[in-house]
Amino acid sequence: MDATPLTADVAPVGATSVIMLRGRIDREGEAALSGAYSEAARLAAPVIELDFGAVDYINSTGIALIVSLLADARRDRREVRARGLSEHYREIFRITRLSDYITLLDEPAVATAGEGGRR
C-alpha cells in the first residue's frame, strides 16, 4: 500500500459540514485537517462529520490530529461524527476513547467474499 498524503475537502450538507478525508492521516496531514476544520467552522455548521471512507492509514500522530480537531470542536460547541472507519480503526477509536466523544455513524463492513448470509 502506498498511501498518499492527506487531503480534506469540506462540503456543507444541511446543518452538517462534511469533511471528506483521503489518503493517510499522519504528521503530514496536519495542515489539511486543521484547514478543513477552519473551513467547516467558517460555514458555521453545528455538526462536523469526518468521512474516513477513503483513508487507508492513521498513525498515532494522526490520532493526535483528530484529538486536536475534537478539542477545537468542543471549544466551539460543535458535535463531531465519523463515518467510514474500518473495523481496525473503530477499535482504535474505542481504545483511545475517541468514540466516547465522536459518534461513529455506520457499522463496519463485514462482508467476506463467499461467506454467505449470516443468521
Binding site: 490530529l65 481496525h88 477499535e91 481504545i95 463467499g114 461467506e115 449470516r118
Partner: protein, 552 residues
Amino acid sequence: MTFMGTLRRTVRLRQRPLPRGTLVPAPPSGSAAPADERVATSGFEISPNDPLSAYLQAAPGVVDVDRLDLASAALSELRGAGVKVVVPLVTQGELIGALYLGPRLSDQDYSTDDRRLLATLAAQAAPAIRVAQLVEEQAAEVAARERIEQELRVATLIQQQFLPRVLPDLPNWQVAAYYGPARAVGGDFYDFIELPDGRIGIVVGDVTDKGVPAALVMARTHSILRGEAPRLISPGQVLERANELLVDEMPERMFVTCLYVVLEPSTGRVVYANAGHNLPYVRTADDRVIELRATGMPLGLLPGMRYEECEATIAPGENVLLYSDGMVEAHSPQGEMYGFPRLRSALEGRLAGSELIDGLLDGLHGFVGRAWEQEDDITMVTIRRSPAAAMPNVDAPGDEPGGRILLELSLPGAIGNERVAMDRVAEAVAGIGLDPARLEQLRTAVSETAMNAIEYGSASSPDVPVEIVVRLAGRDLVVSITDRALGGRIHETEEPDLDAKLAGLQKPRGWGLFLIRHMVDDVAVTSDDDSQTVTLTIHLEDALDGRDTAHG
C-alpha cells in the same frame, strides 16, 4: 317371529365410503341350532361399483332381495346367503351401512308393520351410527398418529445413540459436525473411529428409507464399521467387508451410501473410499473448491463389490466438507433444488469449523424459506487443517536458534519508512494465516514502533539504520525493531488520557506506546550501550485465521 332375535347383531359397521353390513345367513328351515350359531360374525361388503350400492343409496325403505332385478354380484351373494330383506342405513344422503335380515323364524314374510318398524329403526339409527363411525374413525386416526410418533421417537433415539458424543481433539485440526434430523428421521450417520498410529477414521453415511427400519440399518452399519475399521484400516477393504456383511441382511429396497476417510493428522494425508455417497469437497488455501473423487456401489445392494481407494493430502489452511444429500436435495418454495453448485459456492470464503456449518445452514435456510419442512436428515462433518500446521516449532531441524526467520530488514532512519517497515512485515507474515484483524493490529504496532525508532533512535537520520527481524518462535510471531538509541532510551511516558488532552492538560500526542501495547500480546524493550530493541510478540494460538477453538 322372533323379530328382535333375528335382528340382533345384524348391524356391523365399517368405515366409509363402502356401504357394509353384517350378513346374517338364514338358518336352515327347522334348524335346531342355537340362535347364536345362526348369526354370522363376518362383515359383508358391497363394492361401490356394484349396482346394488347405488340402488340402496336411493331406496325409499326396506328392500326385498328376492324382488330385485339387478345384475349385481353382491345381490347374488346376498341371495346365496339367504338374506331376505335389506334395510339401507342412510343419513344426509349417504349410505353408511345396511341391515341384512334372513327369513323370519316363522318363515312368514315380513309384514307391513315389520317393514315400517325396520324403516323407522334405520332412520333413527343411521345418524347415531354415523356419529359412532366418526368417533371410531377419529380414534383410529389418533391411534395411528400416536403409533407414528412413537416410531419416530424410537428412530430418533436409535439414531442419536450412535452419533459421537465428543468430537476428536486433533492438534492442528479443527473438527466440527452437525446432524439435523428431518421430522420423519432418515438414516444419516457420522462417526469418528480411533485407529492405530494416531490415525482416525471419519465416516459419513446415509441409509435409504426413514423411521425405525432405517435407524436399525444405520445402527448395524455403524457397528460393522466400528468393528472392522481398526482391524482392516484400508478404507476400501473396510467398505468391502461392510458390504459383504450387510448384503445378506439388508431389508428389501434398502441400501447404505457411505464415505469412509482415514486421516493421518500429523501429515494431512487422507486415504478414502466411497460407497455411492456424495463426493466430499475440499476448499483449498487459495479458495478453490475441489472434489475428492472415488467410486463404488452403495453397501448392501450386491455381493462381491470392490471399492476404489484414493489418496490426497490436506494442506495447512485447507478445509474438507463431508455431507449427506439432505442438504443438496432441499427445495425452495418454488420447487428448485439447493443443489451441488450452491453448496460449492457457499464453501468459498474464510469460514471453518462450526462457523462454516452455521454459515452453510444460514444459506440453506435463506434458500428454502421460513415455511420449509425439512425433507431429509442433514449431516455435515468438516475438518480443517490449521495454517499453524505449516509452522515449525522452535526446535524444528534446520531452524535458526530463536526460531525461523521470516524477514531481516535494514531501513534508513528516514521519516516515512515506518510505513515501509509495516508493509514489509505484513508481506513476510502473509503465509502464516494470521487473522485479518490481528494482521491490522500488527501493522499498526510495527508502524508505531518503527516510527519511534526512526524519530528517536535514529534521530530521523537516513544514515542511521533501523533493523527489523521477523521470526516464528514456537507458537509465537516475534518482530524485533532495533535502533541506535541516539535520542535516548524509550521510557514510560505519561499514560494518555483523552479527557486530559481535551482539557489541555496533556499534549494531543503521546499515543504511540499506548497503541503498541494494545495491538500485540507482549512488548519488551531491551538495550545495550549503543542500541535499543523493541520486541513485539503475537501468540499465534489465538491469532490465526479460523483459529482452532470450537468443536461442533
